[in-house]
């Protein structure tokens, strides 16, 4: 594989994702409106009723951080989660529309083509995450005091990219097993919502432990999404959460490797029937 060939192919895959994304205005708007609703409506409601006191919860430097501030990393994770699933959907769509055949018959190693697909999807995810930040954070700061330094959101970039890769790789993996477009909505309900709710995105996990909700606490602790959110949360304060980084990196590699095996014609996980790709 020549480097120039590899770069041309990556560019082609990325350009296509971006063209398609920009054509889907609904996707563009919902990518931004969804987290904004959580931030402005949900957080205002829940925050005023219960308030989330992370106590001496790391990485926050003070007690009683505003709930809006607490959920920002979680909402960044949500943007990445939805976007990752959207890439998965586009893989299934491409398979149904036949474009996948074109990709898989290109003279490049299949692992590279799938990695290119993951990278291009992650670029889109990260763009969406930062569009959300750039529009929403200034608005929030007009009525809530935020402890997170603005530069913190820049520090978080590597964490956002890594989490985006993890969720994109998970989407790639799911696309191996989702045979038809019709099955997609159902799968999403069983993936997106549990992952988002049973995580540290909306509440600190020590609260669950304190209240004795052990099952949810335990589930949240084995949810890779929790680690993505925590990696971002710590990074916004310029701190490195080693456990989260190890788990997220491990998941990126694990999900991608299994997805690549799934798309391997020798193993043929995706196509047991006579109508492949």
């Amino acid at each position: 594989m020549q480097t120039s060939h590899a770069i041309n192919a990556l560019k082609a895959v990325t350009r296509r994702e971006i063209i398609k994304f920009s054509q889907q205005r609904g996707r563009l708007i919902s990518a931004f409106v969804r987290p904004a609703l959580w931030l402005f409506v949900f957080a205002a409601g829940v925050g005023s009723v219960t308030g989330v006191d992370p106590g001496m919860y790391h990485p926050y430097p003070v007690q009683n951080v505003p709930y809006e501030e607490y959920i920002i990393p979680g909402l960044l994770g949500m943007v990445l989660l939805f976007s990752g699933m959207q890439s998965s959907l586009s893989m299934v769509y491409d398979r149904e529309m036949g474009v996948m055949r074109l990709l898989l018959t290109a003279p490049l190693p299949r692992w590279y083509l799938l990695t290119a697909k993951l990278i291009s999807g992650t670029i889109l995810s990260v763009i969406q995450a930062y569009v959300f930040l750039v529009i929403c954070v200034p608005v929030i700061t007009t009525y809530v005091h935020i402890n997170t330094p603005m530069i913190g959101f820049l520090y978080a970039l590597p964490a956002v990219i890594l989490t985006g890769l993890m969720l994109g790789a998970m989407g790639l993996l799911l696309s191996v097993y989702i045979k038809q477009l019709e099955n997609f909505a159902g799968t999403m309900n069983f993936v997106i919502f549990p992952m988002f709710f049973i995580s540290s995105a909306l509440y600190p996990l020590w609260r669950l432990e304190e209240r004795g909700v052990y099952i949810v606490y335990w589930l949240a602790n084995v949810n890779p999404f929790t680690y993505g959110v925590e990696l971002i949360r710590y990074a916004t304060f310029g701190q490195f959460n080693l456990t989260a980084a190890v788990v997220v990196t491990g998941c990126v590699i694990g999900f991608l490797v299994i997805a690549i095996m799934g798309y391997d014609p020798q193993r043929g996980l995706i196509r047991r029937g006579p109508r492949p790709a």
Partner: protein, 262 residues
């Protein structure tokens, strides 16, 4: 059943001038208990237009899927320009131009972007690629539709874009899996005559699958595939003669209905 691997037309050609660019032997593939292909073997040389003639469900599409590396055969070898698709898939694929039976255009983007996507995936880029895209689209009379969304094209035009795209990286081998399905008679004829032109002009090896006898009549060689087996492999004339039929249509019907009864 004996598997025929060489037809008389091939033997008439000089092997030095026209080496086999597609070489298949003993190819088998099953889906569960059903054998889609059973010991299929043949070779195609540069400058040869071969029709793979078979009724629906004969195994034509399975064969194309094996040739394009989307599937892996249970047994047998498949060499493309000397590269084994199993062990050297990347090099093998670089020598193939493929027009799939199923439409594979991205309808949401322009014709140009469809072409570019393919070109980039084949390691092309820059001005050279743009020029070639212009050339290939010009050859199929679509140069003025370049910037249009692929969705706006008719079925025949879409097929022509797919053909132009498959030729973009100048492959020595062109695989077309029932390319005329769903096309009107005029588009069918145009497509076939363009492909025949290409054969001579670019010295390409072309494998064209079809269940339509009139298309197979134009081929240098006809391979009759039925229930995963090759029944005949030879010039259209020799296939007719061997079957003792009055034309290729009768020969095809006699061959495929006879095998079904046996």
């Amino acid at each position: 059943m004996t598997v025929m691997t060489r037809g008389p037309a091939v033997e008439a050609m000089t092997e030095k001038d026209h080496p086999a660019v597609l070489d298949i032997s003993g190819l088998s593939k099953s889906y569960g208990p059903r054998k889609a292909l059973d010991g299929v073997g043949f070779a195609i040389r540069a400058g040869e237009f071969v029709a793979l003639l078979g009724p629906n469900g004969a195994g034509k599409t399975t064969l194309f899927q094996l040739m394009s590396g989307l599937f892996v055969a249970d047994a047998g070898t498949l060499k493309i320009a000397g590269y084994d698709i199993r062990t050297d898939a990347v090099k093998a694929l670089a020598h193939l131009g493929i027009v799939f039976q199923q439409p594979t255009l991205d309808l949401d983007v322009s014709v140009l972007n469809n072409m570019r996507f393919h070109g980039n995936l084949h390691g092309m880029g820059g001005k050279a690629m743009e020029a070639r895209i212009h050339d290939e689209l010009g050859r199929v009379d679509l140069q003025d539709r370049t910037n249009e969304s692929a969705r706006n094209l008719s079925g025949g035009q879409r097929r022509r874009v797919e053909l132009a795209r498959a030729l973009l990286h100048r492959p020595p081998i062109l695989l077309m899996d029932e390319p005329t399905v769903g096309l009107d008679p005029q588009s069918r004829r145009d497509l076939l005559s363009y492909v025949l032109e290409l054969k001579g002009e670019r010295d390409m090896a072309i494998l064209w699958s079809t269940h339509l006898v009139d298309e197979a009549e134009k081929a240098d060689r006809v391979i009759v595939l039925h229930q995963g087996h090759i029944l005949k492999d030879g010039t259209p004339e020799s296939v007719v003669k061997d079957a003792g039929a009055k034309d290729l249509y009768d020969a095809f019907v006699a061959l495929t209905s006879g095998a079904a009864a046996a």
